[in-house]
């Protein structure tokens, strides 16, 4: 075991990531054996649809968690983005490209709002994001007059945007998602912004006393998150077409679970983009599997809740051991 841990490739990826990949593969095999008809491309494509939007949410919240903060608004805000942009598209005849931009801008606005309150007004992230979760739900409902909004189908005018998810059965989304993850990795590990975000998550006061404008960089993490939530909204409707006001809470937990399972620490300072990607795929497969087993949404909620607790507990106890 020790020898395996010291293997250079394992060390590069990180031991717990390797374990997670093992879990992922094992889970897939179990589902294939246990559920008739689970084997095959269709299920994989279904799972990938889930991976895209959840992945963008999870990548976003990784930046926030890296600062030691949290964002519980991402799921409902994603719906808010999709509702507002979709409403503009359907009711005001805004072109599809501009609608996508609107979705991203709405996400960005929420990111700016959250980040400003957390960084400059020192309102606890938990409170800020709980509040903006409700604000997001409210705005989405008011804007659409509590109607659900459907985005155009493939073939309909404007439906070509669905190519971001798949073209003729080829999952183009996976390429876009991995590219985005790669860029996030570069930002987090190879830029000044990422360095400051990680360091201030670890010891804010020491970073401030090194002459760094910690408020600015902390806010940036929330802005990045908001931006990615706006993108997630587009991927959500590209895969599932319709959004309803007042929903989206469950994706908070799922996105945070993916992030923490991948080795990003809830205490801040440590974050793994690769881990988030693997974590998100695991969570998505799990949701798909639970549905295929016919267990339904409630069981999904229970399982995700338990995963969050277990993953955070594992992180906390690993840290305690280290100190």
């Amino acid at each position: 075991m020790e020898k395996f841990k010291q293997n250079p490739i394992v060390r590069k990826i990180g031991f717990n990531r390797v374990v997670l990949i093992g879990v992922l593969i094992a889970m897939y095999i179990v589902f294939c054996v246990a559920i008739p008809g689970f084997v095959g491309l269709a299920r994989i494509l279904d799972t990938l649809n889930y991976v895209y939007f959840l992945g963008f949410l999870s990548l976003g919240v990784t930046f926030v968690i890296a600062t030691g903060g949290i964002d519980f608004s991402i799921g409902p805000v994603m719906f808010c983005c999709a509702l507002i942009a979709g409403y503009c598209l359907n009711m005001h005849g805004v072109p599809i490209g501009a609608s996508i931009l609107i979705s991203i801008l709405v996400g960005l606005a929420f990111g700016l709002f959250n980040g400003y309150l957390v960084a400059y007004w020192s309102v606890p992230p938990f409170i800020v994001s709980m509040a903006s979760m409700n604000i997001g739900k409210g705005i989405g409902a008011v804007f659409t007059k509590t109607q659900s909004v459907s985005w155009p189908m493939q073939g309909a005018p404007g439906g070509s945007f669905r190519s971001i998810v798949a073209v003729n059965g080829f999952p183009t989304g996976i390429i876009i998602f991995l590219a985005a993850a790669f860029v996030c990795g570069i930002v987090l590990y190879n830029t000044k912004a990422g360095r400051y975000i990680l360091c201030l998550g670890s010891n804010r006061e020491a970073v401030r006393l090194s002459g760094v404008n910690t408020k600015k960089w902390e806010m940036l993490a929330y802005v990045i998150c908001g931006l990615l939530v706006g993108v997630a909204a587009v991927f959500f409707v590209a895969a599932y077409t319709t959004v309803q006001p007042g929903y989206g809470d469950q994706y908070n937990n799922e996105a945070i679970a993916g992030c923490v399972m991948g080795g990003t620490s809830m205490v801040g300072g440590l974050a793994s983009i690769l881990g988030t990607v693997i974590g998100v795929v695991t969570i998505s497969l799990l949701q798909e599997g639970i549905l295929a087993l016919g267990l339904g949404k409630d069981i999904q909620l229970i399982v995700t809740g338990i995963i969050v607790i277990v993953a955070v507990y594992a992180d906390v106890s690993a840290r305690r051991k280290k100190n």
Partner: protein
């Protein structure tokens, strides 16, 4: 002196990278005041923490009242009658004196707290100790000295049989110390065992019966106080360790230019009207009692805390003083000031990050092309200073959490050297650092000033102040109360000024 109440034998304790206690012995009798002496980092506090269950010993035996014991936590120790009065006070400022004394064991009347009884009991306790404090007062409205008295009263109320005073006098005025000694004499009469930890040689002669000396985590010896001289004790404390020669005169030329001028700085209660100048190549010592406002002054200059008024001027590239506006650490760092905090772990280093990441934290711009970090360049810089400061580490990628205190301090110093800050504020630079590493830090500071940097050194250790400073500023209760050239400075003269405002 009565029979033996406590025997600690062969106590051994290691932390990662530090052998904190190396088979230490201690014996305390009833009715004696037993001094525990040694330099900072000698292991006195660690030994007491092992006794009271805060740390677990690696080996050795503790015999208390005739039975072998191993307290699991301070609560257990307390219940057995072993109580520690810490140098940092553990009081809740917003509660009253009585509430603090009975915290966690409030007298009850049904399910309600019996406030009346609590106050009466506190009064009785204070009367017994001849302390004049109103139990209804809020804790944070008392002076540090009075708070200390409350801490002692609280200890007594636990039916203590063995009381440990961990540097109780560090923050007290002469008058308060006299009161404290009266209480201690009282306790001695009541046949309690008392362990008294202090640096101050004079106090030891006045109040203690026996002295146990520790050095670098080792037991050196135990003496009867009245049979030994100050010099005996100092020799035991310092041992063969060779320090840098104490400074007898300043090496800074009289006409050295002023690099930092602070005028009438005000920042809250702890910084009132402070003015001073720092010259190029100088180590300016800041001396004073705990709570004199030295750290607050440094933090106000550095922009870490807000200030109300005052003018700060710094020498520019043209050799002239220019007034600068410092509202945040960002401004201060830009102006060329670096600050090494007294609390490294909280304010100095990012422990979960590597030496490289810590070294370049204050100067990221120099290691970036646009938004991107040049990792090769930053590692080279980190390695350069690992070599230059002789930081003990396998590589620059090592996480700072794995380094010893002395080496962590070097990483903080490296951070400011990478930034090329000309004015360095060292706040208690050798606190919690073992003796060997301490020497290295001293050498390093001397090297830095010889290269033209200027240093403000805040230190509570008199020996350190007298050894390192070219000039000494003395503060008391938020005001500057004196300034001495090293040639005219003595321990007595500094102490005189450090307690000037009081009484």
């Amino acid at each position: 002196m009565g029979d033996v109440i406590l025997t600690m034998k062969g106590i051994d304790k290691s932390f990662p990278g530090v052998h904190a206690l190396d088979h230490v012995d201690l014996e305390v009798r009833r009715g004696e005041v037993h001094a525990l002496m040694g330099e900072n980092g000698a292991g006195k506090s660690t030994l007491m923490k092992v006794l009271t269950g805060i740390y677990k010993k690696d080996s050795g035996t503790i015999t208390y009242e005739g039975r072998e014991v191993e307290f699991q936590n301070t609560r257990e120790a307390q219940d057995a009658g072993v109580v520690i009065v810490h140098q940092e006070l553990n009081m809740v400022g917003d509660l009253t004196v009585a509430q603090n004394i009975f915290i966690g064991r409030e007298p009850k009347k049904g399910i309600r707290i019996d406030d009346k009884k609590m106050i009466e009991d506190s009064k009785a306790l204070f009367d017994e100790l001849h302390i004049d404090i109103n139990p209804r007062e809020k804790m944070n409205e008392l002076t540090v000295g009075k708070q200390q008295m409350c801490e002692i009263a609280k200890a007594i109320s636990h039916h203590a049989k063995l009381i440990i005073f961990d540097e109780p006098s560090a923050a007290l005025t002469e008058k308060e110390i006299a009161d404290l000694f009266n209480i201690i004499r009282d306790l001695r009469k009541k046949n309690l065992g008392i362990v008294y930890i202090s640096h101050r040689m004079d106090e030891i002669k006045v109040i203690t019966d026996r002295v146990t000396v520790m050095r670098d985590g080792c037991y050196v010896g135990t003496l009867v106080t009245k049979d030994c001289t100050k010099e005996d004790i100092i020799n035991m404390m310092v041992g063969r360790v060779i320090y840098e020669e104490p400074k007898t005169h300043s090496m800074v030329p009289k006409d050295a230019p002023v690099v930092l001028k602070v005028e009438n700085l005000n920042a809250g209660r702890m910084v009132q009207d402070v003015s001073f100048e720092l010259r190029k190549g100088e180590i300016l010592g800041f001396s004073g009692l705990m709570g004199a406002g030295r750290t607050e002054t440094a933090r106000a200059i550095f922009g870490a805390d807000p200030k109300q008024s005052g003018k700060i001027s710094i020498m520019g590239k043209d050799g002239q003083l220019h007034e600068v506006t410092i509202n945040s650490p960002q401004d201060a760092v830009k102006a060329g000031i670096g600050y090494l905090s007294e609390d490294r772990k909280r304010y100095g280093i990012v422990v979960e990050k590597s030496i490289t990441e810590n070294s370049t934290l204050a100067s990221m711009e120099d290691f970036c092309n646009g938004p991107f970090i040049n990792k090769v360049k930053e590692k080279k810089a980190a390695e350069k200073y690992i070599k230059e400061l002789a930081t003990k580490t396998p590589s620059a990628d090592q996480l700072v959490v794995n380094l010893s205190g002395g080496n962590q301090q070097k990483v903080v110093i490296a951070k400011w050297l990478v930034r090329n800050s000309d004015i360095l504020i060292f706040d208690e630079p050798t606190r919690g650092i073992d003796v060997g590493a301490k020497n290295e830090i001293y050498k390093l500071m001397n090297k830095l000033v010889s290269e033209g940097k200027s240093i403000i050194m805040i230190s509570s250790e008199m020996t350190e102040i007298l050894r390192m400073s070219d000039r000494i500023v003395i503060m008391c209760e938020g005001r500057k109360t004196g300034e001495l050239m090293i040639e005219e400075a003595t321990q007595e003269r500094i102490m005189d000024k450090a307690t000037r405002n009081i009484d």
